[in-house]
Structures are given as C-alpha cells and as structure tokens.
C-alpha cells in the first residue's frame, strides 16, 4: 500500500503495504511508550499520595508561608527603621544639640576646676613650657625693625600701658615696665645667640673649606639647614702645640727558661703557645701546692662524719697525706682525703679556661677525685657520691678559689696582650729589625702541625665513640681542652656522653684543614701571621703565640734592662711602679697587668713585679720619659716586666701588654695676627723694556740718558701697549698683519 497525490487528495494504495506495516509498528511502539508513561504517572501519583510526600509538600507550603511572613516582617522592620531614623534625625537636630551644649558646659566647669588644681603648674616635672625660640626671635626682630618698636599680635603683644590689655591670656608687662626691659634684654641675648650660631656655622664651613675638607664644610651647613647645631666645631678649637713620646709596656721572657710547674699532658693551647703558657704558669700558684678535700657522701651516713684525717703533714705536695684509718687499720671511707690540684692535670691555659667554665671544672674535679679515691683506697668508691670540697686542708693555704681568681686575672692580662715582635724593641725611625728566623718560625709551624694531627685523631675518635664511659669521658675532656664547651656533659650518663660527643664533633670538624700547615721559609713574618691565625682556629680562642728572636736591643738598652741598672734618670723601681699605678687609672690593660701581679705575689706565684726601663734611641745621658714633664721628642720608652732573670738573654720572646702615646705640650702658642691693609694694585711689568736712545748719532756722548727722555720712552711704550689692546674693528690705522696662530 502506498499513498499518492492525485490532485484531489491523498489516495491510499493498498498494494503498497510496507509503509503501513511500518506505521503500524511505530504506533504500537508509541502505544507501549504511552502505557509505560501512564504506569509511571500512576506510580508517581501513588508516591505523591504517600505520607512522606504529603509531609514534604506540607513543609514546602509552610516554608512558602514563612517566606511570605518574613518578607512582611522585613517590610515592617524597614518601615520601623525608617521611622527610627527619622526620629534620630529629629533627636540629633534638637535633643543632641542640647546635650552637646550641656557637655560643653560641664567641660568648662571641669576645665575651670582643673585650672584651679593646676595653678601650681610648676609642681609638675613634665616639660610644660616649650617655646619655639626661633619663632620668638623672628617676632622680636619684626617688632624692632621699626622705630619705635611695634608690639602687637603679629610681634609680641606688650601692652602700651597697664590698662591696655591686648591679650588677656598673656600677662605680659607693659612697655617701659622694669620687667619688660628685662625681657627685652633677654630677647636681645636670644637674638645675639642665634646670630652667633649662624656666624659660627658659616665660619666652621669656611674653616673646613680652606683646610681642604669640602665634605665637612658642606656637612656643617647641611646640619644647620635642618635647624640643628652641629656637635663639633673645629674652627673654635685652639690648636694644642706639642709632640708625642711613645710608651710601651712589655713582658720580656727568656724562651729557654723552664716553667715553675708543668703538667704531663698539656692541652692544645699550651702546646701551641708554650712561651705564654710558661709566663702564665709563673703568674699562678703551683697547683701542686693547692689542695682540696675529696669526700664520700653516702646515701645514709650514720652520725656526723669524722673530721678530716691528719692534716699536720704540712703543705700538700704531689704526694698527699695519709688518709684517716678506721679501727682495723684500713682507710676509713668516711674520712675525706686531700687532693693536690696538680692531679686535675690542667695546664696554665686550662686553668684560665675552667675559671670561666665551672661545669668543666666540676667535671674534672670529680674525675680527679675518683682517681684520688681509688689511689687511696685501692678500689672505686662504694655506693655514694664523690664530692670535692674546695677547702684547703692547710689553714691559711691557697684555696681553689684563689687559684681561679689568679687564673681569671692572668686570662685578662693575656687576652689584652699581643705577641712581641722585634720591631717593638727598636725605635720607629731606626732600620727595620730582623724578623724571626725561618728556623724559629718552623718551630712554631711544627707545633701547629702537631696540634692539627692531634685534632684529626680526636675528631676521628669521637666520630666512632668508644662504648666505655671512662674512655669516652677522656675524649670529651680532650675536646673541652680545645675550648669546646659542648663537650662537657651534664652527667656521666652514656646517652648524654654520646650526645656531647656528637656536639663536640660538630664544633671540632670545621677546625680541621685539608692539608697540614706549612711555613714559607722565604716569608717568615707572613708565615708567623698565618700560624697565629691557624692556631686561633685550633685552640678556639686567640693566642698571642710570641716567637723567639734575637734581641735587637743595643748594648746600652740591654744593660738598662739588667737587674739593678739605674742609668736613666728617674727610673728607680719605686718611681716606675708609681708611674705604672698612675697610668693604670687611665689604661685598663696596665691596670689588669698590675692587678695580676698583685695577686701573683700575694699567692706566692713565681712572678714578681719587676719593671725595668730603657729608652730608644739610647743616649749616654738621658732622663726617662716617665720622670720628666718635658721628655725628649720622639723618645720611645720601654717599660719591661723582666721575666728572664738578671740579664737580657740573646734570644728573647714576650708580650706587648700596653702601648700608648703621651702628648707633651709646648710652652706657648705659635699664633699669627692677620690685618687688612689696602696694598697697591700696581705690580711690576711683565715685560722687560730694553730702550735705545732716540738720538742715533754717533756723536752722542755716552751716558746721556736723562729723565725726560726715559719718561718719553716709557710713555711711548705704554702708548703702543694701549694701541696694542685696541680691538681690531676699532682700529683705523692699517698695521702690519701677521698670522695670529
């Protein structure tokens, strides 16, 4: 079946049924879809009729109602707000205005009350009256610029009479009043002072300018332009004529002199700088003669502990006295034993270090106390705790605290010092002194290399720490001797020890060098400087590290420094000591040196204050610069602490403890008087005039020049000169033209 258009309408052609079949199938499909949709409608209707859906729809409806109500409420609120706003505006316009007026009235009352209270305004320490002086001066100058002065609000409102009150708040005196005249005098002085400051700033600027300091010249003006006055003025300073002499305070030592006490295992600092260590050892009491008590504190001690054992054994030496014994003849563990501080095994630098580090001191004392206990009792301490009491068993003996005080003082003295160089023993104007020999520098370098090797070994040991506590503690104490405070553990707990080892390695590792230190034989001075720098890295603090050198002192100066020499006038021992004490008040390093020697002498150390004096350049007859108000110009005074015996050895070393210049004033001022004199502007001619007599006749007698002729020649010459200066375009006379250039 098919459909065809025959002009009237569509005609179904039954023979063409394929399309009909397709249509029928399509309809059936649509009907199926319709059925499914109807089923879904029925399901949805059923769902909508369910209680949940009904409730939901009720909620939606309620929400819609609430929304409507809220909108209505918002509208009402807006209306109320508008109403309140209008009310507020009305209130502001009327009520608030009244309230402000009331507050103003109240404020006035309070102000009046405060004014009454503060009438004694001077009772306040606060700055209440600050006057802009420059503004006041401007007003004053404006007032006196006219005659008679004009006093009003634009200037200063002085009333013309008592009844003429210009400003009731200012109770200024009337014109002509005594107070007003006094005020004018003060204002005059103000004007003068401001003027003086202006002149001064300008003068300073000009002064700096002609001195060749244009930067400072501009600086003064720049400061003044900011309304401030510069702090320093050179132009008003009176030059102080005079000259300088130089004073040097030295400690001269014999590098070959043995130390008064030594330790078997000196630390790195003492190995790097044995000269200074020896000198410090002379400043400290011998630790072998300083003792402490080692006491065992038991957890429960029955009864009071007995008194210390026999102490009548005299001053404790390296061998301590016998301990107390119990009834069985065995050492009584309750009796404290005495221990010489030499058993702590600290070198001089070590004592300086522990004097500033109580933790390390305590650890070392405890360690030494344990050893001492074992040595006395033959066995480790029993249960309990070893306590080291810093009390000397000898009445009046040197105490641990005394040794530490001496160490602190010696540390201060060496910290302020530097190594003595040969140049310090010669006059600056003399030829350069011979530097330390290459061999002497190599000795220093060898010390540096030895400590480098020691440090390498220590770091490697700490990087793989031993398990045994004593061995690890020993390593940590070695690290502490290199100035590593972190190496000191709080206790001997193994974990803490390991942590301290780690910290010590972290501090020590950067001090290691890639290659050992080497000295340059061709440059001993430079090598010494590098060695000192490397030693500071290794030791953890600055060491003077003086090198030994052949004394550059001449025979006279060497004789001056011998014991008992008194060649220089005024260089007696008591005079030099008094001079040192005077300078100690203004030279901290000198004061430290003297305080150290005071302590050393009082505690029985080896060093004594023995200042000897020489003066460079040496003269046969001379007065020491410290003993005369007018010392020789250019003199260099050497005050030497003799730490070498009676005679200056051929090879010396030492420390420069202090050095300064002493200005010596002249007797008067070399000044000048400048005056203005209007000298003539005329100056001699720049040209030599060679005149020839105008009469060329050979008959003219010689020497016939007369004044008129001479004047004519000069006048004519000047006429020519004036003509020479006439501009080209103004010159009417044709002349000789020659090339100009």
């Amino acid at each position: 079946m098919a459909m065809r258009d025959d002009g009237i309408g569509f005609t179904v052609d039954p023979e063409d049924s394929a399309e009909l079949v397709a249509w029928t199938a399509q309809r059936a499909a649509i009907l199926r879809d319709l059925g499914a949709a109807q089923q879904r409608v029925a399901a949805l209707d059923a769902y909508l009729a369910s209680p949940d859906a009904v409730a939901a729809r009720a909620e939606v409806s309620a929400a819609g109602d609430a929304l409507s109500q809220a909108r209505a409420a918002a509208t009402t609120a807006q209306e109320r707000f508008d109403s309140a706003d209008a009310e507020a505006h009305r209130f502001e316009a009327n009520e608030v205005a009244a309230a402000v007026a009331a507050v103003d009235a109240a404020t006035l009352v309070v102000s009046q009350a405060l004014a009454e209270l503060l009438r004694e305004a001077s009772n306040s320490a606060a700055l209440t009256a600050t006057v802009d002086g420059l503004a006041l001066r401007e007003r004053y100058r404006a007032a006196i610029a006219v005659d008679p002065p004009h006093w009003d609000h634009t200037t200063i409102p002085f009333p013309t009479g008592p009844a003429d009150i210009i400003d009731p708040e200012l109770a200024l005196p009337a014109v002509g009043d005594a107070d007003q005249i006094r005020l004018l005098s003060i204002l005059d002085r103000l004007d003068e002072r401001v003027d003086a400051v202006a002149d001064l700033v300008t003068a300073e600027s000009v002064h700096q300018l002609v001195q060749g300091n244009p930067a400072r010249s501009g600086g003064s003006l720049a400061v003044a332009a900011q309304g401030r006055v510069p702090d320093e003025f050179d132009v008003i300073r009176t030059p102080r004529p005079g000259y300088d002499v130089t004073h040097r305070l030295l400690a001269l030592v014999d590098p070959g002199r043995p130390a008064p006490w030594t330790v078997p295992w000196p630390g790195p600092s003492a190995r790097l700088d044995p000269v200074t260590a020896t000198w410090v050892a002379r400043l400290l009491p011998d630790p072998a003669h300083v003792a402490v008590l080692v006491r065992l504190v038991m957890p429960e001690v029955p009864g009071p502990p007995p008194e210390p054992g026999p102490i009548e054994s005299g001053p404790p030496g390296g061998e301590s006295g016998p301990p107390g014994q119990d009834d069985d003849g065995e050492p009584d563990p309750r009796v404290p034993v005495d221990m010489a501080l030499s058993e702590v095994d600290l070198d001089p630098f070590g004592w300086i270090r522990v004097a500033a580090n109580p933790a390390e001191l305590e650890l070392r004392l405890a360690d030494a106390g344990q050893r001492r206990w074992r040595a006395v009792h033959g066995e480790p301490p029993p249960e309990g705790r070893i306590v080291v009491e810093p009390v000397s068993p000898v009445p009046g003996g040197v105490q641990l605290a005394d040794l530490l005080a001496a160490a602190r003082a010696a540390g201060a003295a060496t910290t302020a010092a530097r190594a003595l160089d040969p140049q310090d023993l010669v006059h600056p104007a003399a030829a350069d002194a011979t530097p330390p020999s290459a061999a002497a520098v190599e000795v220093v370098a060898e010390r540096v290399r030895a400590v480098e090797a020691w440090l390498d070994q220590l770091v490697e040991s700490l990087e793989s720490p031993p398990a045994e506590v004593p061995a690890l503690l020993e390593l940590l104490l070695q690290a502490a001797s290199a100035g590593v405070a972190e190496a000191v553990p709080a206790s001997t707990d193994p974990e803490l020890l390991l942590a301290a080892a780690g910290a010590a390695v972290a501090r020590l590792r950067p001090r290691r060098a890639a290659s050992p230190f080497t000295a340059d034989p061709a440059n001993p001075t430079g090598s010494l400087v590098r060695a000192r720098s490397r030693a500071e890295e290794l030791a953890g603090f600055r060491l003077p590290m003086p090198a030994a050198f052949v004394s550059p002192l001449d025979a006279t100066a060497t004789a001056d420094l011998a014991a008992g020499a008194n060649r220089l006038s005024g260089s007696g021992r008591s005079s030099v000591r008094a001079w040192l004490l005077d300078h100690a008040r203004v030279r901290p390093a000198t004061r430290t040196f003297l305080a150290t020697l005071d302590l050393a002498e009082t505690l029985g150390a080896a060093e004594r204050l023995e200042p000897r004096v020489t003066q460079l350049p040496t003269r046969t007859v001379d007065t020491w610069a410290g003993a005369t108000p007018a010392p020789r110009a250019g003199a260099v005074s050497l005050v030497v602490q003799a730490s070498f015996g009676n005679q200056v050895p051929a090879t010396v070393a030492g420390l420069v403890l202090d050095t300064w210049s002493q200005p010596v004033p002249a007797e008067g001022h070399d000044t000048g008087v400048a005056f203005h004199y209007d000298q003539p502007d005329a100056a001699p001619p720049q040209t030599l005039l060679v005149a020839v007599h105008p009469d060329p006749s050979p008959d003219r007698p010689a020497h016939t020049w007369d004044l008129d002729t001479l004047l004519d020649v000069v006048t004519a010459t000047f006429a020519l000169a004036r003509d020479r200066a006439t501009a080209a375009e103004l010159c009417t006379v044709a002349g000789v033209e020659v090339p100009d250039a």
Binding site: S122, S205, E601, L720, V738, D740
Partner: protein, 546 residues
C-alpha cells in the same frame, strides 16, 4: 682661513671667541703690557706695600690662687679621698706597693708581720679581693698608725712598734714605711675630704669657677659659669669686672716683624699671568652654599689685602696693644683692632672673650689662649649616669647605669638588677602567673638604679628636681654599696629644673692623666653631656595585674 689680524676683536660673540678671550694667550711683549694695563696692573692708587710691622701684644698670665699652668686638673679634680673611703681594690694596690717597698728594702719577711698586725679582713670583699683577705696588711689602720707617729709625709717622729717584726728588720721597715707615706701624701688625706670638687655646682651639675688676668690697662675677671668638663677652651670663659685702676700699666715691648700675604688653597692670585693652584678651584663651588659663596666673594675682593705676622705668646689673656705698618715709601699706618673699629655692637665676637659687663666696648679684643696642655689620657667611665624626663610618670629620673662596687669594680646596674630582682617581679614569669587571680597594686616596681626626681621649689622660687625616697617595697633590690656619687644620695639633694632638658643629661666620672707641671698629673673628673632623649621607667600607678 686663519685670523691674520694681530688685534683682538672687542666683543666675544661666539663660544670660540669667548674661549679665546679667556685663554690668556701669551703673545708679544706689548701684548703683555697691554693686558697688565687693562687689568689695572699699573695704577698707583693706594700706598706702598707693607714691608714691616711693629707689633705690641700684652699677655697676662692666668691666676687662680696662684699662677695657673694647667686649668683642667686644677678645676676638675675631685679632692684627694680619705684613705678610709677608698675602695678595696685601691687598698690592695696600696698594700701591694708597701710590700714591694719592703722587698726593695731587703725586709720581705716583714710583710707577714704587718699582715698579722694590721689584718686586711673586709666583710664585703668580692671575688677579686677575696684572695687578699688576711694575706696583706690593711692600709687604713696602718696609715693612721704611721701618720700619728711619723707625720703625713713620714718625715718626722719615731717609728711605732709593730709586733712580730723579724729581728734586724726595723730599719728597713721604717725606711719603707716613711717612703710609702711620702708617696701616699699626694694621693690620700687622713680626714675631712669633700667628695665633690670645689668648683662643682651640685645643682647645675657643672663646674663654676673664676680666673683673673692682670693686663696693662686693667685687671679682668674670667668667670666660667657653665663648664661641662669636656675640655677647657677660650669660650669656656667670659670677661667681667674690668677694673682699669688695677691694670699693671706696663706697656708691652713692640717687636718688629715682616708681614706675609695671607694665602690658602685655591686662593686667586692677584696677578694676571700668575698660575693658580689647580688642586682647589673655588669658583666651581661658589654656587653650592653660603660658605663657598662667602669664601669666593672674599677671595675675589680682598684676597691680596690681608697680611699675616707671626706671634708667639704664652698662655693667658692676650691683647694686641698696637700694630703699626710701615710701607715701601716709609709711611707708617696704625692698624686698629677690629673690635675697636666695630665698637661694642654686641657682647659676642668670634675668638674673643664675651663681656658680661653692661658696656662691652671696654676691653674689647681680649683673647684667651689656654695653656697648651694636650688632651688628657682618659680612663673608662667610673660612673655613668643619666638624668631623663619621664612625661608618662610625670617625673624626672636619675638613672645610674654604671657605678662601682666596694671592690672598685664597675657594676652594670641593669644587669645587676636583672640578676637580683625578686621572683615576685611580674616580668619574671608572665606566662606562669596568668592563671592567678587579679590583684591590685598601688604601683609597679622600680628598678633599683632609677631614682625619682620630684619637682620642688628652692630659694626664691627656683624650680628644682629633688631626689626623692622610694619605699623599699617598690624596689625589691637594694642598692647598698653600689650607689653613685655624682649626684649624692643625701637628704635634700636637688638639681636645677632647667638643667634636665628634654634630651636629658649624661654625666660621667673618669680618671684623666696629663703631663703637666709635674711629670704626671692624675685626677678624677666629671663630665656633663647631652643625654639620649626622654625615658620611661614603666612606672604606673593603680594597676590590676595577674
């Protein structure tokens, strides 16, 4: 084409011709003469050139109870202290010196006997002094004993008996003790020392003194009313009370000297063809600031009219009595002083003494040249004190930053306060107290080194700032033994209100040393300098805190 004209053009209209005009070329002799004529080099307008000067200068030495050779030690020095007032450190120095004198005398063993007879046993010795306790003799009783027997200088009387001296040591001990006393006589006094210098004004915290000078025409007083201790200069002094009736009348002898022109770097040369110093070119700076403009203006107008004559003068007040110039024609001209020409327009003039008299004209031209003592060697500050305004607390404060303890060691008072302040100080543990209840305090605690200065009124209504007491409860840290001395802690101590400016005051004490009339002069001086601005103690009243 080259310019064939020998003559210059009259006007320089192009840059090239301007440059040519300024280049000052040297040509023929007539050209040189012409240039010199054009620059007025041949005008005989003034007198002859000065060739000789007769100069009469009178110098009067300075006088203050005697001739003055060095002013600073004379004025600034605190009086010698009593030996009983010395700090322990200084006592140790004295005892050590005596010990060394005994060693010099060969009686070293006598030190033990002296230490036993006069034991040095202070109860408040610090760490530095402790090692000396009972090991050296105490200089105080020893000094008093020796002075009573041998006199202040140890040059009279007989040696007192000292128990325990080793046999045969008496002569050596006596010699050492006499020498020790002789040395001490210049350092300490036995009794009656005033702690402040005589010239010190405790209210104004500065020196106030007066010198005199007797000139030919008059004797003048030289008051120094506001010397701050920073170094004496001519401007420290004024002049006053000029009394012509007391002049010496001695006319100074005139000296004949040759003047030389004043020169300075960059100065223009007066002659046309003279080459100037190329290092300094003032003209390039003329427009930069006033000083350059002044200098360039002076240089261009007056450079060749100023002359200089040398004059060596001793220290004192100098007046140029007469200056007569003789020129090349033999004409003599009297040159008056600037001060005499200008008259007394004002009291202040640069480098001259300012007059405090009603008529400044009399005595004008008076200059003071201080004794040429060099800048002293100065030690560290012994005491460092601030006076500050505290607008919040409505007070002024005396803040003692550094003082000395009994050992003579410097004490940083701030660090000391932090170390010693009581645990009740809220700053100790602010977090730990947060849980506590609120409590009321009358006021916050004060650091012990902040001393309040309350306003007060002195004689004649002078406003003062009076040192006030603080209740001990408000401090918590005691200041015994470390109090400062510049502003004494005595009842009634007050300073002038106007001295405590807004920038505050900075007061220091220090030892100074110069080489002066004797070999060495050492003294203890005080210096007043501007402070560092206002400060706040943090003091608050009526507070609630946790």
């Amino acid at each position: 084409m080259p310019d064939l004209s020998l003559r210059p053009v009259s006007t320089a209209s192009t840059p090239e011709s301007r440059e040519e005009a300024l280049s000052a070329p040297v040509r023929d002799p007539l050209w040189l003469l012409a240039r010199q004529w054009q620059t007025r080099g041949f005008v005989a307008d003034d007198a002859g050139s000065p060739i000789q000067v007769r100069l009469g200068a009178a110098t009067a030495p300075l006088w203050m109870d005697g001739p003055v050779t060095a002013i600073e030690p004379l004025v600034e020095a605190e009086p010698r202290p009593r030996i009983d007032d010395l700090d322990l450190g200084r006592l140790v120095e004295l005892a050590s010196d005596l010990g060394r004198r005994l060693v010099d005398a060969g009686v070293a063993t006598a030190r033990t006997a002296l230490a036993a007879a006069f034991p040095f046993a202070p109860t408040d010795a610090g760490l530095r002094i402790q090692p000396f306790v009972r090991r050296i003799p105490d200089p105080r009783p020893l000094y008093h004993t020796l002075v009573a027997a041998l006199g202040v200088r140890g040059d009279s009387g007989t040696m007192p008996a000292i128990p325990g001296l080793p046999p045969g040591s008496a002569a050596g001990v006596e010699g050492a003790c006499r020498a020790w006393l002789g040395w001490l006589a210049d350092a300490v006094v036995g009794t009656g020392a005033d702690p402040a210098p005589a010239a010190w004004d405790p209210e104004r915290l500065e020196y106030r003194f007066r010198l005199t000078a007797r000139l030919p025409q008059a004797t003048t007083a030289l008051p120094a009313d506001e010397y701050d201790g920073s170094g004496i200069e001519w401007y420290t002094f004024d002049r006053a009370d000029l009394d012509p009736s007391t002049g010496s009348g001695e006319q100074p002898a005139a000296v004949e000297v040759h003047p030389v022109p004043v020169t300075y770097p960059g100065m223009p040369r007066p002659r046309f063809w003279e080459l100037e110093d190329g290092d300094v070119n003032l003209d390039t700076l003329a427009g930069t600031d006033a000083a350059h403009a002044v200098l360039v203006s002076f240089a261009h107008q007056y450079a060749n009219d100023w002359f200089l004559v040398p004059l060596a003068v001793p220290a004192g007040v100098t007046v140029i009595a007469r200056l007569t110039v003789t020129d090349t024609f033999g004409t003599t001209t009297e040159v008056p002083a600037v001060a005499a020409v200008d008259g007394g327009r004002g009291p202040w003039r640069m480098w001259e003494l300012t007059s405090t008299d009603p008529d400044p004209a009399a005595g004008a031209g008076m200059r003071l040249l201080v004794p040429p003592s060099p800048a002293p060697l100065a030690g560290p500050s012994i005491e460092d004190v601030l006076v500050v305004r505290d607008e919040l607390a409505n007070l002024a404060w005396l803040v003692e930053r550094t003082t000395r303890d009994g050992d003579g060691e410097p004490v940083d008072r701030y660090q000391r306060y932090l170390r010693l302040r009581p645990p009740t100080d809220p700053a100790f543990d602010a977090g730990g107290r947060a849980a506590e209840r609120l409590r009321y305090r009358l006021g916050t605690a004060l650091p012990d080194y902040w001393y309040p200065l309350m306003s007060a009124t002195g004689d004649g209504g002078r406003p003062l700032l009076r040192l006030a007491e603080v209740p001990p409860e408000a401090i918590g840290v005691g200041d015994e033994g470390v109090r400062g001395r510049i502003v004494p802690h005595d009842p009634g101590t007050a300073i002038a209100d106007e001295e405590a400016l807004r920038e505050g005051l900075h007061l220091t004490r220090q030892d100074r040393l110069v080489t002066g009339g004797r070999a060495v002069v050492v003294w203890r001086a005080r210096v007043k300098a501007p402070g560092f601005g206002e400060g706040s103690s943090g003091l608050r009243y009526d507070i609630l805190e946790q």
